[in-house]
Amino acid sequence: MEKLMAALKAQIIEQLNLQEVKPEEIGDDQPLFKDGLGLDSIDALELIVLLQQNYNIRIANPEQGPEIFRSVRTIAEFITAHQNKN
């Protein structure tokens, strides 16, 4: 899980071009949107593509989005659960 979260932080920074943010500055449970990392709805679309490209995961139900993308840990848990299912 720790390894996956570290990889996710690096991928999020690259995909969203988060200049001057280092992976270690993103907390595992830090909210990604609004007051946390400050991401917005366009970033949410970028994160959906990130999951498709890097983990071959399609989010079938858009209503799951806010829960999945709440933090790096929730994304990592979603990926792990998806991989275990397959």
């Binding site: 001057e20 400050g38 366009i42 679309l45 970028e46 593509v49």
Partner: protein, 355 residues
């Protein structure tokens, strides 16, 4: 009705984004036949959360816009009007490349959203929270002039006090390589001091953004009066453009002798420069001549840099040594005529008068 240029902002291959007089040209870095913008620290104008999504042309345009608004002490313009020939080329390239490489699947939104030509004007409006008239003109070598014409017409309607207008174009590796195939650029190495004397084919590629705040009041910051503008598409001969210039000056009740400084878009291309040679020789043989494309390179909206340079000359009362091409700089500069053409097809005349 008089139209005044109340503020200017420019991002170019020179250090034009810094305050102060015309930047001293040390040595513009010609990389092959290509002049790149000298990027200022954009974070001084743009929030870091917004800057991450912006490609270079958006940052250049926003910076030039903010500089011009600050110089004019205008917070909210009554219109935002831009001109660009190529638009947001870099993001367009990113999006199209991904479309091909990813088989039209899993395309990210950012580069698509920001690949349209009106992205810069839209971004400026978003940052200013400006809901006023917002328009972008995409007319190849007349993009800047079309935006300028629209600004003039809106001001003449009498309902607007300040208009933020400008032009911007960026050069990417892709666009440089593609345009190079048409033999538009020099094959041999050239420096900015040699370019204007060149006797070979082609020029140097360039890019940049220049913005202006136009208004009908002579504010404290007003540096010049925009007296006239006209365009001519594919004039038949050098004699025809010379006649156009005489007619243009006549409309504004100005004699050829009244022009203190002629600024041309001479770019070192032996064919294209014959237009300027003819005009200089036949219409303005005794006047000082300035040039600007050795400083910014050639691009479809380069006339905007020429107008920015003209404003700097009028506001300072001096012709920078790096701008002066021919003759002796006059002691007093009241009227400047800017004559530019793009690829010998899009010819434009801009008349500036000192305040």
């Amino acid at each position: 009705m008089n139209i005044y240029i109340q503020g200017t902002g420019c991002v170019s291959p020179l250090e034009t984004a810094a305050e102060g007089p015309f930047p001293v040209v040390v040595n513009p870095s010609y990389e092959g036949a290509r002049l790149k913008v000298s990027d200022p620290d954009y974070k001084q104008w743009i929030d870091i959360k917004q800057i991450r999504r912006m490609s270079r042309i958006i940052k250049m345009g926003v910076a030039a816009a903010k500089l011009s608004l600050a110089e004019a002490s205008v917070e909210m313009p009554d219109a935002i009007i831009t001109g660009t020939a190529y638009g947001c080329l870099d993001d367009t390239g990113v999006f199209l490349t991904k479309m091909i490489s990813q088989n039209e699947e899993m395309l990210t939104p950012t580069s698509f959203i920001q690949s349209t030509h009106n992205t810069v004007a839209g971004q400026i409006a978003l940052m200013l929270n400006c809901h006023a008239y917002n328009n972008t003109f995409v007319h190849k070598g007349f993009s800047f002039e079309s935006a300028l014409l629209d600004s003039i017409m809106i001001l003449k309607e009498g309902n607007s006090r300040h208009i933020l207008m400008g032009a911007m174009d960026e050069l990417t590796n892709h666009s440089f390589n593609i345009i190079s195939r048409f033999n538009r650029f020099k094959k041999e190495p050239v420096t900015h001091t040699e370019l204007l004397q060149s006797t070979t084919h082609g020029t140097v590629a360039g890019e940049g953004a220049a913005c202006f705040v136009l208004g009908t009041e002579k504010s404290d910051s007003a540096m010049a009066r925009l007296t006239g503008l006209t365009t001519s598409y594919k004039p038949g001969s050098t004699a025809e453009i010379a006649a156009d210039i005489i007619a243009f000056l006549a409309v504004h009740e100005i004699a050829q002798e009244d022009i203190d400084l002629l600024i041309t878009g001479r770019n070192g291309d032996v064919e294209g420069d014959t237009w300027y040679d003819h005009v200089e020789r036949t219409l303005f043989p005794n006047q000082a001549v300035g040039c600007f494309k050795h400083l910014c390179g050639e691009y479809p909206t380069a006339a905007s840099f020429g107008m920015w340079a003209g404003c700097k000359v009028l506001s300072s009362g001096q012709v920078p040594a790096d701008v002066l091409f021919k003759g002796k700089a006059p002691e007093k500069i009241k009227k400047i005529l800017i004559y530019n053409h793009y690829k010998e097809t899009h010819h434009s005349l801009i008349l500036l008068t000192g305040c």
